[in-house]
């Protein structure tokens, strides 16, 4: 704090401090004028607001972001994971039935169950944070190594969920099951014949393990056990992980942006867009089940669910409602981009493996549509919702 008695005892007085009284008066007047100008400017700012705020929707501040996060958690996230748990349970049962009686019919049922579980799993990638990060995600869905799986089968077992737990991620999970259940090069009868014995037993263990992982994931979110749904849904109130609604929103929007990017890349890579146009079917995500295109579509479906706040019969607030509190035009633009992605994906007349050679133009159109969706999320949605892109703790400005 400055000491008044020393205020005038300037060691090296400058000309300004030797000013005469009229000069001091002049400075005071200048100061008053500056203060008045400042007040006018601030008042002008307020006036400018009231004059320009004419064609806007509701005040963004009125939107209940906590309610939106809670409803997305309750109406989309948890139900998707419950559905995945149920689907994985059905897959376990179907694979067990196949193992008990390997026939083409039980194989077909197991394949259908695999595709159903796969579909909801890919939708859940729209919120692939929290408990699923790391080991759990890898145990459920990782690139399979056929030779390594053959080696495991060749050991003869015994196989159960616990023994599968000890295996590396390239020998278990959905993709290991896909390798066992699907073979586009072989007839169904050949697949059944190949799996009889050790193969079917291992498939059963894989199904059991996958179902256990799905249950673990669901329980981690369930309010009666891990209660991650409350961590996300109560961001900024009782949540320990998300100190503010913005933290949760940032996590969610970054995730759907990443998902759109992944979806586009999963078309680009096999189509050869990254390698000069030469198709590379080996880069398909789910080549054996020929469901790579469905994987892409289900990712977009996951984005759609978060955007609308809707899954199955459950419907509540979603990101679109928050965006709508700021810009109805953006809501319409994003809806349009999502719809165009679906349309472009559905316009591919055959599954991806065949489309790589038979319908590359349609596939590229689907790629472009998904890229457009990524662009609008990464630029407009992020801006309007005030989301911080790319988590890092670097400083700004």
């Amino acid at each position: 704090m400055l000491q008044p008695e020393l205020e005038d005892a300037v060691v090296s007085p400058s000309p300004s401090l030797e000013a005469s009284k009229p000069r001091a008066r002049s400075r005071r007047n200048l100061l008053r004028a500056a203060a008045a100008a400042s007040l006018c400017a601030v008042a002008g700012g307020g006036a400018a607001h009231f004059l320009t705020a004419c064609d806007e929707g509701p005040d963004p501040g009125e939107f209940d972001e906590n309610a939106m996060l809670r409803q997305i958690a309750d109406n989309v996230m948890l139900p998707v994971l419950v559905d995945f748990d149920t689907s994985a349970g059905a897959l376990e049962a179907a694979v067990s039935a196949f193992a008990d009686g390997p026939t083409e019919a039980t194989l077909a049922t197991a394949r259908e169950a695999w595709l159903a579980a796969r579909a909801v799993w890919k939708q859940s990638q729209a919120f692939a944070f929290g408990p699923v990060k790391g080991d759990l995600s890898a145990a459920i869905d990782w690139v399979a190594d056929p030779a390594a799986i053959d080696d495991v089968v060749a050991t003869g077992g015994p196989f159960d969920s616990a023994s599968v737990d000890k295996l590396g991620t390239n020998r278990k999970g959905m993709m290991a099951l896909e390798y066992l259940l699907f073979d586009p090069e072989a007839s169904d009868a050949d697949v059944v014949a190949r799996l009889e014995g050790n193969g079917a037993a291992f498939a059963r263990a894989l199904g059991q393990n996958l179902a256990a992982k799905a249950t673990t994931l669901r329980e981690a979110w369930d309010p009666s056990s891990g209660a991650y749904v409350d961590e996300f849904g109560n961001a900024g109130t009782t949540s320990d992980l998300y100190k503010s609604p913005k933290d949760a929103l940032d996590a969610l929007v970054n995730e759907i942006l990443f998902l759109a990017d992944t979806a586009a890349n999963l078309i680009a890579a096999p189509l050869g867009l990254k390698t000069g146009g030469t198709p590379a079917p080996e880069l398909e995500e789910s080549r054996l089940s020929d469901s790579s295109l469905a994987d892409v579509e289900n990712r977009v479906r996951g984005i759609d669910a978060i955007w609308e706040g809707r899954f199955g019969d459950l419907d509540g607030l979603g990101l679109s409602d928050m965006a709508g509190s700021r810009s109805e035009a953006l809501v319409s633009d994003v809806r349009n981009a999502i719809d165009k992605s679906f349309e472009a994906l559905e316009a591919v007349p055959v599954a991806m493996t065949a489309a790589l050679t038979e319908a590359p133009a349609e596939l590229e159109a689907a790629f472009n549509a998904v890229i457009a969706l990524k662009q609008i999320i990464g630029s407009d949605v992020v801006t309007v919702l005030g989301v911080t892109l790319t988590f890092n703790d670097n400083d700004g400005d």
Binding site: V10, A41, G276, R326, Q375, D395
Partner: protein, 451 residues
């Protein structure tokens, strides 16, 4: 008449001034940069900024500046911290200050991804510190000199103090000038976006719900920046002005992730106080024994060099005026111009490489080359987009392909609908970086912000 005024100004600037505020400034500068360097290492940014990336975005003319090895960069930061402490203590001052300036500037020349206005300010201030006699008093060097029986050094000339004041004041003033645009004043952008995200801030958060708050803060912020250097210089307004500085930086520090910025600026702003303010604050700090002395010939040369520096620093922030288009969109003349907190800009970039011989097309995702932070920063800045295109061209060249590179960049600025930032039909592999306007940058969209 002019000659008389110039002479009077020269005489005034040659007058000796109490070095106390310059000593306080030196201690603050060195101390805070030392803390910033330690913080930088502790947060793991050495690896993130200098080791993890496979490509860098050097500044035009400084393409030769590259990070050294990982251990080398850690050594750079260790040395930088020591040099900063040396500056604070005034120990081996010239070597310490020159080393600090060289190392700090080097680390920030490596990659423009990490450009920050206050890093640039620190570079300038450490550069000035290396040249100015800030160590003649209140320093280890002065103490050592006294112990060896040498006479105390003369007080610095007033121009030394005013040069540092000018540099610090310029940050605020041009920060205010930059706010005199329609986005800031008419649309209250980007504050309307940012404040809406800060409604949970303790105590003041609820008022951010109102758009009027954004307008008041925008206009108030502009007035604050434009006037604060002058209000800090004037004795009667100084206490209120400094209280406003503290409040301003506490609020922006709480609202935004600004790191050391809210610490640097209030500390640096004290240079605008009376030269003897530290002596008044700490009465135990005895009056200097050295009498004022006449300026040496070096002071006269220094004054002329300082005048040139001041002119350059006044013109540099205005260079955007010679480029066509809105600087917030084109970013030509955006850096080194104190354009602080002016934009909420987000974009997505995709690129295509086309083999000139075979016509084969390659879709290129930025993540194939860049870290997430590099990708984010590149996506909205045309010069970095050009550098990214050249990265792709050079990479394909190493694989035996001669390619054209086309970039699709959609960018949203301050709440406007996203629009293409660059002409996606222009082969950027042929475009050269330089000071000339970038003709391939598309005009800023005329749309108003979405809300």
């Amino acid at each position: 008449m002019t000659t008389t005024a110039t002479d009077r100004a020269a005489r005034g600037l040659s007058r000796a001034v109490d070095p106390a505020s310059l000593v306080a400034f030196r201690v603050a500068l060195g101390g805070l940069v030392a803390v910033a360097s330690i913080r930088f290492v502790a947060k793991g940014w050495v690896a993130e900024h200098f080791v993890d990336p496979r490509h860098y975005f050097p500044y035009w003319g400084f393409e030769w500046v590259r990070p050294v090895s990982a251990s080398g960069m850690y050594a750079v930061y260790a040395l930088m911290t020591l040099a900063a402490l040396g500056v604070a203590a005034g120990a081996l001052y010239r070597v310490s200050a020159a080393t600090l300036f060289a190392l700090f500037t080097y680390t920030h020349l490596c990659d423009k991804t990490h450009y920050l206005n206050h890093y640039y300010l620190v570079s300038l201030l450490t550069g000035l510190a290396a040249l100015l006699p800030l160590h003649h008093h209140g320093s280890v060097d002065a103490w050592w000199s006294k112990r060896r029986g040498r006479a105390p050094r003369a007080w610095p000339a007033a121009w030394v103090l005013w040069l540092v004041r000018y540099q610090v004041g310029l940050v605020y003033f041009f920060g205010g000038v930059a706010k005199l645009g329609p986005d800031w004043l008419v649309h209250a952008m980007p504050l309307r976006i940012w404040l809406a995200r800060g409604t949970d801030v303790f105590l003041i958060g609820p008022i951010f719900r109102y758009e009027a708050t954004a307008y008041l803060m925008s206009w108030g912020g502009a007035v604050f920046d434009l006037s604060i250097p002058f209000l800090l210089l004037y004795r009667k307004t100084r206490p209120f002005a400094f209280a406003a500085v503290l409040a301003f930086h506490v609020i922006v520090g709480r609202l935004f992730q600004l790191g050391m910025f809210p610490w640097f600026m209030p500390a640096f702003a004290t240079i605008l106080f009376e030269p003897d303010w530290p002596r008044r604050l700490w009465r135990g700090w005895c009056a200097p024994s050295s009498p004022p002395s006449a300026p040496a010939w070096t002071s006269k040369i220094g004054m002329r060099v300082a005048a040139v520096y001041c002119v350059v620093q006044a013109l540099l922030p205005l260079r955007f005026l010679v480029y066509p288009g809105n600087v917030l969109w084109t970013e030509e003349g955006f850096r080194f111009a104190w354009k602080v907190m002016l934009q909420e800009k987000n974009g997505v970039v995709t690129a295509r490489a086309v083999d000139r011989s075979t016509g084969e097309r390659f879709y290129v995702a930025p993540s194939d080359y860049l870290t997430p932070l590099q990708e984010r920063m590149m996506s909205t800045q045309p010069d970095m987009i050009l550098q990214f295109a050249h990265m792709i061209r050079d990479d394909f060249r190493t694989r035996g392909r001669d390619v054209s590179v086309y970039v699709d960049a959609r960018v949203s600025l301050n709440g406007r609908p996203s629009r293409p930032l660059v002409d996606s039909t222009v082969d950027l592999s042929n475009e050269r970086e330089g000071l000339a306007p970038k003709r391939w940058v598309l005009p800023m969209p005329k749309d108003p912000p979405r809300f």
